[in-house]
Structure formats: structure tokens, C-alpha cells
């Protein structure tokens, strides 16, 4: 037992060191654009973990998740940019963004509690679109969001009065901005992972799984399904709101086109591809889908040149084509995701008597 603990501790220290030096290794070896890709990947991990609470734990199919990301991002943009001339610090806005997003989560959750499956999917999709359309159009009659023009010159995150948008000079060593954001995002992503793990094993987490498996039985067991479902929406939205705020600060520009339906679908793909309800799987899915298109972008031309001696297909077409094929292939060979929950794996081992889409409820 003692050696186990020691081993685990050692493992965590090693991982900590690995994560800490990662940007330097990647940045030196592959270039800073890869560190930027890592930054976005961490944002997507947060998003995927947030959606995982709704879809993976509670089994509520949500196709409008990106709306909460948008709410977080625009709240940050409005409260820390010259648009209204308000410049609040990031540490004040991010928790506020999380709360406002949670409020929107409840707003979405309340009317759709009775809906299930595909009906829920289309309503959440509609909700996501409604939020985006309002953001895109609320520049008149009163200019709130600046409409399609987006909001620019957003304040970067400042820590101890040092903006993360400028390279930091440490002992003559210039640490680029993308590295600084990497550490910030890493810390928050770890926080989200921690909260997710704690939630999973809590009373609430078990209640979510119970609802996912059989809502009527869960109700019969004394679970207040309404509140527990609302909590799932709110918690999921919270993570989305935080990630959104970070996105706005990192890009220093937000516009409605960043929050389209395709983004929602992409985050859902991460959750399902990685392994719904399984935190390490979801993290893997998030990293994979955020990095894969970029890897294909970098790899497409040299690969073709090596194989055929010339570029047959535009790298961009090839990139999306391979991305689509990868989605299909992974699902065909690992339908429960790349790294599924042990419990799910057992479920799948023996074919259920009926297609899982039927007969429940």
C-alpha cells in the first residue's frame, strides 16, 4: 500500500514535470504554432469535459453546447475591452462568466426537461443557434454585441500586472505569450479535470448515471430527476463559460462566426470519440480532435510528395477528407469510443437484446 502511494506520487511528479516542459519541447522541436495548437487543445479539453457532464454522465444529448462558450466569451469581451470602455480584471470576469453560463444552462434546461433523445438534440441545437443569432444581431437598436463586426482589442489576462499577451522575460529568457497561456489553460484544465473526477464519484454523479441508465428507475429510487438534470446543464455550462472567457482573452477578438453549429458538433465528436462518460477518454478525444486536423495540415503535402512525388490533392481537401474518414473508422472499430469506461465496455461485450435506441423509458 505504501509503495503504491509512493509510486503514484512519483508518477504525478513525473507527469507534472512532463506537462511543464511540454511547451518548450514542442516549441523548440516543432515550432510555436504547435504550442498554439496545444493551447486550443486545452480549451477544447475543458469544453469536452463540460459537455461530458451533460452527455456522458447524464445522458442528455446536447447539440447547442457552444452557446455557453459564446456566452463566456462575449461576457469577457464586453467587460474587458474598449467596446463599453470597461476593463475588469480576468479573475473577476471568469467566475462571473461561469455563473452567467450556468444561468443560461438552467434557462435551456428548464423547458426541455421532459424531452428525450433526438427531440432534446434538436431543441438544444435550436437554443445554440438562437444565442448565436442574437449575438450576431444585437448591434441595433442598442449596440450591445457590435453584431457581425465582432469585438476587438480585448484585454489579455493579466497576472500580477503582467499581461500574458507579451513575451515574459525570465532571466534573459523570453517566454512567448503562447507558452504563458499554455500554463494558464493547463492549470484551469486540471481544475476542470479535478472537479469532473470529484463529481463523477459524488452522490450527484451517481444520480446522473442513474438517470442516463434508466430515468424512471432513478426517479423511483428517490432521485429528484428535475433538479439533478438542471444541475447537469448548469455544471456543463459552467465549464463552457470559463473556456469561453479564456478564448476571448487569448484571441483578443471575438465574433459570432466562432460559435457556429459545427463547433458544437466538433465538441460532441470529442466526447463520443474519446469515450462518453469516461474522463480520460474524453480528454483524449479533445486532444485528438483538436490536434488531428492541424497534424494533417502540416503533414498532407510532404506525405503526398513522398508517396506520389507530387501533390495530387489540395492539402485542405485531404485534411477534411481524412478527418471525416477518421471519424467513421474510429466509430466502426471502437463504437464506445477510443478509451471507453470499463462499465460501458462490459455492456457492449454482449449484444443487447434490442438496439439501444429503443425500448427504454
Amino acid at each position: 500500500m505504501k509503495t503504491d502511494k509512493r509510486k503514484a506520487l512519483l508518477g504525478m511528479v513525473l507527469i507534472g514535470v512532463a506537462l511543464a516542459v511540454l511547451p518548450f519541447l514542442v516549441g523548440q522541436g516543432l515550432g510555436n504554432s504547435w504550442v498554439r495548437v496545444l493551447d486550443f487543445a486545452l480549451l477544447y479539453v475543458m469544453l469536452a469535459l463540460g459537455l461530458n457532464i451533460v452527455v456522458g454522465f447524464a445522458g442528455l444529448l446536447d447539440l447547442g453546447y457552444i452557446a455557453f462558450y459564446a456566452v463566456g466569451a462575449y461576457l469577457y469581451a464586453l467587460l474587458a475591452s474598449p467596446h463599453f470602455g470597461i476593463h475588469w480584471p480576468a479573475w473577476a470576469i471568469l467566475p462571473l462568466g461561469a455563473m452567467v453560463a450556468a444561468f443560461f444552462g438552467i434557462l435551456l434546461g428548464a423547458p426541455v426537461l421532459r424531452l428525450r433523445g433526438d427531440y432534446l438534440a434538436i431543441v438544444t441545437l435550436g437554443f445554440g443557434e438562437i444565442i448565436r443569432i442574437f449575438i450576431n444581431n444585437l448591434n441595433a437598436p442598442v449596440n450591445i454585441t457590435n453584431g457581425p463586426q465582432g469585438i476587438s482589442q480585448i484585454d489579455p489576462v493579466r497576472i500580477l500586472n503582467t499581461p500574458l499577451s507579451k513575451p515574459l522575460d525570465i532571466f534573459g529568457l523570453g517566454v512567448p505569450s503562447v507558452y504563458l497561456y499554455y500554463y494558464l489553460f493547463l492549470l484551469l484544465a486540471l481544475l476542470v479535470v479535478f472537479v469532473s473526477i470529484r463529481l463523477e464519484d459524488s452522490r450527484i454523479g451517481r444520480a446522473w448515471v442513474a438517470i442516463r441508465e434508466d430515468e424512471i428507475a432513478a426517479k423511483a429510487c428517490g432521485i429528484d430527476t428535475r433538479n439533478v438534470k438542471l444541475l447537469a446543464f448548469a455544471m456543463g455550462a459552467t465549464f463552457g463559460g470559463i473556456a469561453g472567457g479564456l478564448f476571448a482573452a487569448f484571441q483578443e477578438f471575438v465574433s459570432p462566426e466562432s460559435f457556429g453549429l459545427m463547433e458544437s458538433i466538433m465538441v460532441l465528436c470529442m466526447v463520443v470519440l474519446g469515450g462518453m462518460g469516461h474522463i480520460p477518454g474524453v480528454i483524449l478525444g479533445g486532444l485528438l480532435l483538436a490536434i488531428l486536423p492541424e497534424a494533417l495540415r502540416h503533414g498532407a503535402v510532404p506525405m503526398q510528395q513522398a508517396a506520389f512525388g507530387k501533390v495530387l490533392l489540395d492539402p485542405e481537401s485531404l485534411r477534411m477528407l481524412l478527418f471525416g474518414l477518421a471519424l467513421i473508422a474510429v466509430m466502426l472499430y471502437r463504437p464506445a469510443g477510443l478509451w471507453p469506461e470499463a462499465r460501458r465496455k462490459r455492456e457492449l461485450a454482449r449484444p443487447s437484446p434490442q438496439p439501444p435506441s429503443r425500448g427504454r423509458g
Binding site: 452527455v55 444529448l61 423547458p111 426541455v112 421532459r114 424531452l115 428525450r116 433523445g117 433526438d118 427531440y119 438534440a121 434538436i122 431543441v123 441545437l125 435550436g126 437554443f127 443557434e129 438562437i130 443569432i133 442574437f134 450576431n136 444581431n137 437598436p141 453549429l261 458538433i265 460532441l268 465528436c269 463520443v272 470519440l273 462518453m276 490533392l313 481537401s317 477534411m320 477528407l321 478527418f323 471525416g324 474518414l325 477518421a326 471519424l327 467513421i328 466509430m331 466502426l332 463504437p335 464506445a336 460501458r344 457492449l348 449484444p351 443487447s352 437484446p353 434490442q354 438496439p355 439501444p356 435506441s357 429503443r358 425500448g359 423509458g361
Partner: protein
């Protein structure tokens, strides 16, 4: 008043187009309980295939209607083959997988089809040659094109035909049995795989028809057209009660009317605040409202037990 009638006609035509696509969606859903997200892309492939043939024959001297029919004749088998393949490759192996797995493969298929279409037909927009008669008639000061009348009637006829097929034929009975319970239907001697393939073949043929009608009506087709169309049709199908054929028709027409009347009148009613930029918001708002009070859509009585 003539403006109002014109808006009703606009809504009816748009709604019939949604319905044409939604019928294919709902048919697959009714049998398999699967959202075939790639259906919109099959519509797109149908439109572009037909357009390729139509462009080839546009100057052949044949009457325009014949050329379009020939285009349709080329598009239908192409789409059927495509639908059949999609089902075999992307959906069949996942019939017992978790419910979201086929949804992801469907998204994958969508992306792949779009990219292939882009490689094959190019990135630019394709115009539909002006070979169809542009005649129309006037109803109470409003104008409707003959082609648009055809679209409305065709949507209704296809819906009626499908209902006949499902309720009156042997194949239809097998389909209903499969929808009810595939295992037991199998035990009763229904070849489930054949039935599901047949469903996809019919759905894809409908997609080809829808594709040709959409591109003829708007005189435009491109590799990116399937996504939005599919999304709207999906909304329509759910509004009417997904899995229910008359529901898809009703949902489609209703969605078309909401969009057109919403864009036409709500702006003036709200003093310009909720103008035509909120067109989609009206549609989704009505959808949410309907689902709050009727959680399985307007006509989706039976399917509510599933899901």
C-alpha cells in the same frame, strides 16, 4: 392583402421543399430510429449529379422538361447507390452500438461527401441552366411559378405514395414490423437487412428528387448546400413528430410558413426590433414551444414511447 397571399405562397413552396427532404429523414428514422445526418449531403449529390447531366443536354434541343427528367433519372440511381453504400459501410456495423456512435459516423460521412463533391465538382457555385418554362399564374395579386406548383404537388404526392407503400403493401408491413421490433420481425421471417436497405434506397431516391427540385427552384447548386437544407429538414421532421410521414409534411410546411410570415411581419409588429434577421429564431422558438407542450412533436403520438 396580395402581399399576405404572396407570403403564404412563399411559405408553402419553401415548406414543400423542406418537406421533400424531411420525408427522407423521417422515413429512415421511423424504421431505424437513426438521425441520418448525411441525408442532406445525399440531396446535394443528387442535385449536382442531375445538374451535370442537365448541363450536358441543355443545348441538345430536347425540351427543358425532358432534360430535367433525364437529369433526375441519372441522379436517382446515383443517390440510391450512395445511400445503400452509406448504410452498409457506416450504419449497419453500428446497429447495436451506443446510440451516439452512428450519429458520429453520420457526421463523418457528411464531411467526406462534402469534400469529395468539392474535389469532383469544384469549389464554385453551379447555375441551373434556364431551360424550364418560367411561366406562372396569378392568385389574388400574388404570383406563383408553375415549377413551384409542381414542387408543392410533388411533395404531397410523394407523402401520399409513401403512406400507401407503408400501410398497404407487403414491403410496408415488413417495414412497420421492423420499426416496431427488429428482433421479433426477424423471427417472423422478415429479412431485416433487406428491409433496412430498401428504406435507404427509397429515402435516397427521394433525396435525388428533392435535390433536383431545390436546384431547379433556386437555380443554384454547390457542394455546400446539403448541410443547411438537412438541418432545416431535420427541424421540420421533429416539429411534425419524427418518424411520422404526414408529420414531416406538416412540419415542413409549417416551418416554411413560420419563416416566411416571420420574416414578413414580425419586424413591423415589433417596431423593427425582431426583423428578418431573426427568421431562424422564430422557427426554433416555435419548435421549442411545440415540444414543450407536445414533447414528441405535433403528430408524433406513437414514437413518444420510444426514444
Amino acid at each position: 392583402m396580395d402581399t399576405f397571399i404572396q407570403q403564404i405562397i412563399n411559405g408553402l413552396v419553401l415548406g414543400s421543399i423542406y418537406a421533400l427532404v424531411a420525408l427522407g429523414y423521417t422515413m429512415v428514422y421511423g424504421i431505424l430510429g437513426l438521425i441520418n445526418f448525411a441525408h442532406g449531403e445525399v440531396v446535394m449529390i443528387g442535385a449536382l449529379t442531375a445538374l451535370t447531366v442537365i448541363k450536358l443536354l441543355a443545348n441538345s434541343g430536347l425540351p427543358g422538361v425532358v432534360v430535367v427528367l433525364l437529369g433526375l433519372l441519372a441522379a436517382i440511381p446515383a443517390c440510391m447507390a450512395l445511400g445503400f453504400t452509406i448504410e452498409r459501410v457506416a450504419y449497419r456495423p453500428l446497429r447495436h452500438a451506443p446510440r451516439l456512435a452512428p450519429l458520429i459516423t453520420a457526421i463523418g460521412v457528411s464531411i467526406v461527401l462534402q469534400q469529395l463533391a468539392m474535389i469532383f465538382w469544384g469549389r464554385s457555385y453551379h447555375a441551373f441552366p434556364p431551360i424550364l418554362p418560367t411561366t406562372g399564374r396569378d392568385i389574388g395579386g400574388a404570383h406563383i411559378m408553375d415549377l413551384q406548383i409542381v414542387i408543392v404537388l410533388l411533395a404531397a404526392a410523394i407523402m401520399a405514395g409513401l403512406m400507401l407503400l407503408i400501410n398497404k403493401t407487403r414491403l410496408g408491413r415488413a417495414m412497420r414490423a421492423t420499426a416496431e421490433n427488429p428482433q421479433i420481425a426477424g423471427l417472423m421471417g422478415v429479412n431485416i437487412n433487406t428491409i433496412i436497405s430498401a428504406t435507404f434506397l427509397i429515402g435516397s431516391a427521394l433525396a435525388a428528387v428533392a435535390g433536383v427540385m431545390v436546384s431547379a427552384n433556386y437555380s443554384i447548386a454547390h457542394y455546400h448546400m446539403g448541410f443547411i437544407l438537412g438541418l432545416k429538414a431535420f427541424t421540420a421532421a421533429v416539429l411534425g413528430g419524427i418518424g411520422n410521414l404526414p408529420g414531416a409534411m406538416l412540419g415542413g410546411v409549417l416551418l416554411g410558413l413560420i419563416e416566411s410570415l416571420g420574416a414578413g411581419y414580425v419586424g413591423d409588429l415589433t417596431g423593427g426590433f425582431l426583423g428578418s434577421h431573426y427568421q431562424d429564431v422564430f422557427a426554433f422558438f416555435v419548435l421549442i414551444l411545440v415540444l414543450v407542450f407536445r414533447p414528441s412533436g405535433l403528430m408524433g403520438e406513437k414514437v413518444s414511447e420510444r426514444a
